[in-house]
């Protein structure tokens, strides 16, 4: 991202805050991966390693009462919305202190009070749901926006297309994105679609689309901000394709031998944290010691979070039976 544009359009404090969340996201997920390798986490672990700029960038561009239906590699969005490392690690450990109290695992967490719609494994399922949230905002005349995404593979699903179409027809205040990290589990984009750029899909719905460097937090932030402003102004939905690379396997159990090593090497040089540090240095905002300081800060926070998650009790077997149905008091006002 051109540093003159960044200097003009992003405040120093916003950029520094995004840098902090990039580091916190990486640190939380590295800890989760370590816990998984120690056999402490049962079930899947899907990280945003090397893709942190996407969720950190877009979530930073939203207002607090906007709603996010995240992709499953959007840990940054949870942290920005106030999910603490302790809560998040408790979720991965299946503890009562996690947002789902052990009912669901890993990144399948949500909280309407913090504007986070719980992720569903069936990719793209939450895209029509986000369109519906935007529909509610439109019906009530509220100045709120929904922000929802899926991966390159998810854009093959009907729900992706049904959501794009419905939102475009009704000009709903929603922004859709695709994290194009080039692989859906082991399947490369070329077996997923006959086009090179996912953004092409938007044209069919009469929706503007944009390709964004998904490893550049400033680029993600500014593109999201523009699309959000348009949605808020009543100009309808936008589709953003964030180009990036999945640097780990689909889940931590997956060594991803199907990904050419040289591809990973090439993308390593474009690491989003590295890029953000280069940008901050070029802008003269901070120096190396600041990066070290933030590194120490997030390490401490994740340490404390891990401790609190360890202390959180496991749910009791009969808790299984609680919560199939909602009661009247739980409905959103």
């Amino acid at each position: 991202m051109d540093q003159a544009v960044v200097a003009k359009d992003i405040t120093r404090s916003d950029l520094l805050e995004m840098y902090y969340f990039l580091r916190l996201t990486r640190c939380v997920e590295d800890r989760i991966t370590a816990l998984y390798r120690q056999g402490r986490i049962v079930g899947g672990v899907y990280t945003s390693h090397g893709m942190e700029a996407i969720s950190v960038g877009y979530a930073s561009a939203l207002k607090p009462d906007d709603v996010i239906a995240p992709f499953h590699r959007d840990m940054g969005a949870f942290l920005i919305r106030g999910f603490s490392p302790g809560e998040i690690i408790a979720q991965y450990l299946g503890k009562k202190g996690g947002p789902t109290k052990g009912k669901d695992g890993n990144v399948h967490m949500g909280d309407l009070k913090r504007g986070m719609i719980g992720f569903v494994s069936h990719l793209a399922d939450n895209m029509p749901v986000a369109a519906g949230a935007a529909l509610a905002f439109r019906i009530r005349g509220e100045s709120r926006v929904a922000f929802a995404g899926t991966g390159d593979g998810g854009t093959s699903r009907g729900d992706f297309h049904e959501a794009m179409n419905f939102a475009a027809v009704r000009k709903l205040p929603v922004v859709f994105f695709c994290t194009n990290n080039q692989y859906a589990y082991s399947t490369p984009v070329r077996y997923q679609m006959a086009i090179t750029d996912v953004v092409e899909r938007a044209k069919a719905y009469g929706m503007p689309g944009e390709i964004v460097d998904g490893n550049d937090v400033a680029a993600v932030y500014l593109a999201s901000k523009g699309a959000i402003a348009k949605a808020r102004a009543g100009a309808g939905p936008t589709f953003l394709e964030f180009k990036t690379m999945r640097m780990h396997g689909h889940s931590e159990h997956d060594a991803a031998k199907y990904v050419p090593r040289e591809l990973l090497e090439a993308w390593k040089a474009k690491d989003p944290i590295l890029k953000a540090e280069q940008l901050l240095t070029q802008l003269g905002y901070v120096d190396e010691s600041y990066f070290h300081e933030i590194g120490e800060r997030v390490k401490k926070e994740v340490e404390a979070g891990t401790e609190s998650a360890e202390q959180s009790p496991l749910p009791e077997g009969p808790d299984t039976l609680v919560g199939v149905f909602a009661t009247e008091g739980e409905v959103q006002p």
Binding site: V67, H122, D125, P128, E162, F166, G323, F325, A326, E330
Partner: protein
């Protein structure tokens, strides 16, 4: 508007329209989505005149996109609205199966998000609809925790259950029987009322055999009961009205009284609701049973189109009479 005033006799379909109209007037959070429900008023004219009365943001014609608009209803419901979605035919609900069973049904259990929405699904045969316009898909959802399912058999229940469904904080599947739409009429109370979800209704009291059913089959059962009374068999007809949560109390009380049970439904026999109730009766009321539990249901085929085929497929009064006589012999 097709809705009559409350003091006149109304048909089953008019009762549904009245419930929607009254709930939309009472609660501005209630809005409608579906195919052709706006200017056209819906394939069965349930929402005729609603577009003019409530405007295009409360009566939304959707793209032909069941999964998309059910998903959108889930999102709107989580944001505090009360969407009522119309499936043009219950058969098309299969396109939205994933949204209903994976998203709507599980959201509250997984992460505490209530999804107060209603899906209206015109179901059932006897209308020459063929394999794609006659299905009874309730069994698919009966097996999915997190959903409530209702299926009224009378105009009174149709109106009261729809109102209760709209006011419920959970996703409710409302199966309305197409065959009954314009075939039955009733005078409804003038005042606002609901039929609580989870309460069965004994539509006919009897001593000898309990027949448990729902939807259009209730009327078949009542007809059979009259014939059987001439043969000295006194049939009790339990109309489930709600399939989930099942009113076990009413079912068990009736079976404990008669000691014999017939399950009747229009959905296919295998894995149907009758099979589940039969298993419950064996588990919980075995000590009082004086005979086998009978199921009367269509064969395990799609609903065929041609008149003799559809007549063969659907349960008949004579099937109930024969079943009751067989059971009466125990």
């Amino acid at each position: 508007m097709t809705t009559g005033t409350a003091s006149q006799e109304v048909t089953y379909v008019e009762a549904i329209s009245q419930a929607l109209d009254e709930e939309m007037s009472r609660d501005k959070r209630v809005f409608l989505m579906g195919e052709d429900i706006g200017a056209y008023g819906g394939a069965f004219k349930v929402t005729e005149g609603f577009l003019t009365k409530f405007g295009e943001w409360r009566v939304l014609d959707t793209p032909l996109s069941e999964s998309g608009f059910v998903g959108a209803a889930i999102g709107a419901a989580m944001m505090g609205l009360r969407p009522v979605v119309e499936m043009q035919f219950a058969d098309f609900i299969s396109c939205a199966f994933d949204q209903i069973t994976e998203v709507a049904a599980k959201n509250h259990y997984r992460w505490g998000a209530a999804v107060p929405m209603v899906i209206r699904a015109p179901f059932g045969g006897g209308v020459h609809g063929g394999p794609f316009h006659s299905e009874c898909p309730e069994g698919w959802f009966f097996h999915s925790p997190g959903l409530k399912i209702v299926a009224p058999s009378t105009p009174y229940d149709a109106k009261g259950l729809l109102k209760a469904a709209i006011r419920d904080p959970n996703p409710v599947l409302y199966f309305e029987h197409k065959f009954l739409y314009r075939r039955i009429k009733a005078t409804l109370p003038q005042e606002d009322y609901i039929v609580p979800i989870g309460k069965a209704d004994v539509k006919r009291t009897g001593r000898d055999i309990t027949l448990i059913t729902y939807g259009a089959m209730v009327h078949l059962a009542l007809e059979a009961a009259e014939l059987l009374s001439q043969d000295g068999i006194d049939l009790e007809v339990v109309d489930l009205r709600t399939l989930i949560p099942l009113d076990k109390k009413t079912i068990y009380a009736s079976v404990r009284k008669t000691s014999k049970a017939i399950l009747l439904h229009e959905d296919n026999k295998t894995g149907g609701i009758g099979a589940e109730i039969s298993a419950l009766l064996v588990e919980d009321c075995f000590d009082c049973l004086d005979g086998p539990i009978l199921r009367i249901a269509p064969p395990d085929t799609p609903v065929p189109f041609s008149t003799p085929l559809e007549e063969f497929f659907l349960p008949k009064v004579s099937d109930i009479v024969a079943g009751a006589k067989k059971l009466g012999a125990y």
